[in-house]
């Protein structure tokens, strides 16, 4: 019973974080048709920025906004770098992979391989369902859900959000309606970077920060998008499934922490074989998966 409570609570918290990380990834994939392998870098770099700003100012409350702004600017820069090649999936993949690798190497050179701890905003822990939960983790989960609902509001009520949905549904019609496609794509990447940075600055204090984590974050985001289905906001619920599978493997046997990546990738491959449109996606045809 204790184990089940642990599983539920922890996978709720981690799942909420994965939600907003994967949401940005899914958005960039759906709207701009960019498979952004550098998405994990947005998450990672926000952690390093918050650390650096904290060292400079010695104040978390100024470091966090600065880090979010910095990461968002980095997202804008990423789009501006790759916007000439986004028509070709192959080149986009390579360019974003190269950006990710280069940034991780720069971080490796500047900060070294040793891991850094970012200070928590609030210390201490409390009990939920008889499970001890760090306050910082709870705060980050609540904030993630808050940002998520804010984002859904943005997508439905503002002009830019509606334009994003229009471009995702049918790019030709969106063009005819007078939407500036490139501007929408640009803001999509910026919003994705913003979402990832919010997740990063609040959740990374609980994880160890190292330069090779970006690829893992990208893969998790991709698995969530595949599992949930392309172009459905509902599909983000799959992040809870992934978080659950992670904790289930980690808690069930000793080598679990090594094997967990393998487990969710295996889930992804099975889903792609049996139901390529994902759990909540639209049916895309027997052979073809939308490119």
């Amino acid at each position: 019973m204790d184990v089940i409570a642990k599983l539920v609570v922890y996978s709720f918290i981690t799942g909420s974080i994965y939600c907003i990380v994967a949401l940005g990834f899914s958005l960039v994939f759906g709207v701009a048709n960019i498979l952004n392998l550098a998405h994990g870098v947005f998450y990672m770099i926000s952690g390093y920025l918050v650390y650096s700003f904290f060292v400079m100012t010695q104040n978390m409350y100024t470091a966090i906004p600065l880090a979010v702004i910095g990461t968002t600017l980095f997202g804008a820069l990423t789009y501006l770098t790759i916007h000439t090649v986004i028509d070709s999936p192959f080149k986009t993949l390579l360019a974003t992979f190269a950006i990710g690798g280069a940034i991780s190497e720069i971080i490796f050179i500047v900060y070294g391989v040793s891991t850094y701890g970012i200070p928590n905003i609030i210390d201490g822990s409390f009990m939920i369902l008889g499970v001890p939960v760090v306050k910082q983790a709870f705060l980050s989960a609540v904030l993630a859900l808050f940002v998520l609902s804010g984002f859904v509001f943005f997508l439905n009520k503002t002009d830019l959000g509606r334009a994003m949905r229009a471009v995702a549904q049918n790019i030709e019609v969106a063009k005819l309606a007078g939407i500036n496609i490139n501007r929408v794509k640009f803001f999509t990447v910026v919003v994705a970077a913003f979402l990832a940075s919010v997740a990063g600055v609040f959740y990374l204090p609980l994880q160890s920060l190292h330069p090779n984590m970006w690829m893992n974050v990208t893969i998790i985001s991709f698995v969530i998008v595949v599992l949930g289905g392309m172009g459905s906001i509902k599909g983000i619920i799959a992040s809870y499934i992934i978080a659950f599978s992670e904790y289930a493997t980690t808690l069930s046997f000793a080598e679990g922490s090594y094997v967990k990546t393998g487990v969710y990738l295996l889930i992804m491959i099975i889903i792609l074989m049996l139901r390529p449109q994902g759990l909540f996606g639209k049916y895309l045809g027997p052979l073809e998966v939308k490119i």
Binding site: F29, L35, T81, I82, T84, V85, P89, F90, K91, L93, L94, A95, F97, A98, I99, G101, A102, E105, I106, I109, M215, I219, F222, V226, E255, Y258, V259, T261, G262, L265, L266, M268, I269, L272, M273, P276, L287, E288, V289, I291
Partner: protein, 325 residues
């Protein structure tokens, strides 16, 4: 029954081979006579291994349009097979060779099953998944696979570096001519048709799933040959051998030389080997420069360096001809 085509007497066949080929091959055969420095010979062997690996990627990545980022899995699978057999059971390399190729063949079959139905982004990302799963398995059984450190202390391919060189030399050029034969045959035409428009070959009654599977297996097998040679030349097999970074090297070589040309893959292997060796001086920045090189080529030189190199050569050649005449 099809009648065998009469190719002509050996001297006639020799005349058909372009002179540049004979020249290039002859130069390479002479290399061990010029220098017996093991360091230089090792660089050449590594260059040949990279060339095999890049060509095997090019067959499916460049000609078939299946952009695989997990190609190092086949490379690593065969390297690990030969390493385990060699270190744990003391089997000689020659005996391990068919087994390790068989291993990469079987793994290619397993990988092909779910990936062949996919396209574009999905395909590329799923190919990322397989090496990650395999590395996870390696970490779950550290005693058998050696986890982070990998397996060390493999025996040499042969006694001397010179023989190693000739083995790699024969392997790379025979694979090059086999692949060229495939690409210039009707199958090659089908491959290019599949890349341009899948509906067209299907409407001609060609079973494209079968062709794709066949090419995937051939490509995996050749990557396995590269992995086998690599394991016995470097004599250390690590998990990094089958991770994305290794696969990226093959992709990068093909991009540098121009995707979809076998000679481009070899050209790319030359460039990458030279760059790698020169950047040993600034080891810390080597990978960074490598990534920046990818970015620059993708963004600014989409045709690949070889195309610009060739056009430069032809311009210079034309200029020379004009000067001479």
């Amino acid at each position: 029954m099809k009648e065998a085509k009469y190719l002509g007497s050996p001297s006639e066949i020799l005349k058909k081979i372009p002179k540049t080929w004979i020249f290039l091959l002859a130069i390479q055969i002479c290399i061990p006579f010029v220098t017996s420095n093991p360091y230089y010979l090792k660089i050449f062997v590594i260059f040949y291994i990279y060339a095999i690996f890049a060509m095997s990627w090019d067959l499916i990545g460049g000609y078939l349009g299946i952009v695989s980022f997990g190609h190092a899995l086949f490379f690593g699978a065969s390297a690990y097979t030969t390493a385990i057999l060699n270190v744990k059971l003391n089997w000689p390399p020659l005996l391990n060779f068919p087994l390790s190729i068989l291993c990469s063949l079987v793994i290619a079959l397993i990988v092909a099953r779910p990936t062949m139905r996919l396209k574009g982004h999905y395909l590329a990302l799923v190919t990322f998944a397989f090496p990650a799963i395999t590395t996870n398995i390696f970490f779950a059984f550290p005693d058998f696979f050696g986890a982070d450190i990998g397996i060390t202390g493999l025996s040499r391919l042969s006694g001397s570096r010179t023989i190693d060189f000739y083995v790699a030399f024969v392997a790379v050029w025979s694979i090059y001519f086999i692949l060229r034969k495939i690409i210039n045959s009707d199958t090659g035409l089908i491959l290019r048709a599949i890349q341009c428009n899948e509906a067209a070959p299907i409407s001609c009654g060609i079973d494209i799933a079968k062709v794709k599977l066949k090419m995937f297996i051939i490509s995996g097998m050749f990557a396995g040959v590269a992995g086998f040679l690599y394991a016995h030349v470097i004599r250390i097999v690590e998990p990094t051998n089958l991770e994305v970074h290794m696969a990226m090297q093959a992709v990068v070589m093909c991009i540098i030389g121009g995707v979809g040309t076998l000679s481009g893959a070899i050209f790319g292997a030359v460039v990458v080997t030279i760059v790698n060796e020169f950047l040993r001086v600034i080891e810390q920045y080597r990978i960074l420069i490598f990534y920046l090189l990818i970015l620059m080529i993708v963004l600014f030189l989409p045709k690949g360096l070889k195309w610009y190199f060739d056009s430069l050569c032809s311009t210079v050649g034309r200029g020379l001809k004009r000067v001479i005449s």
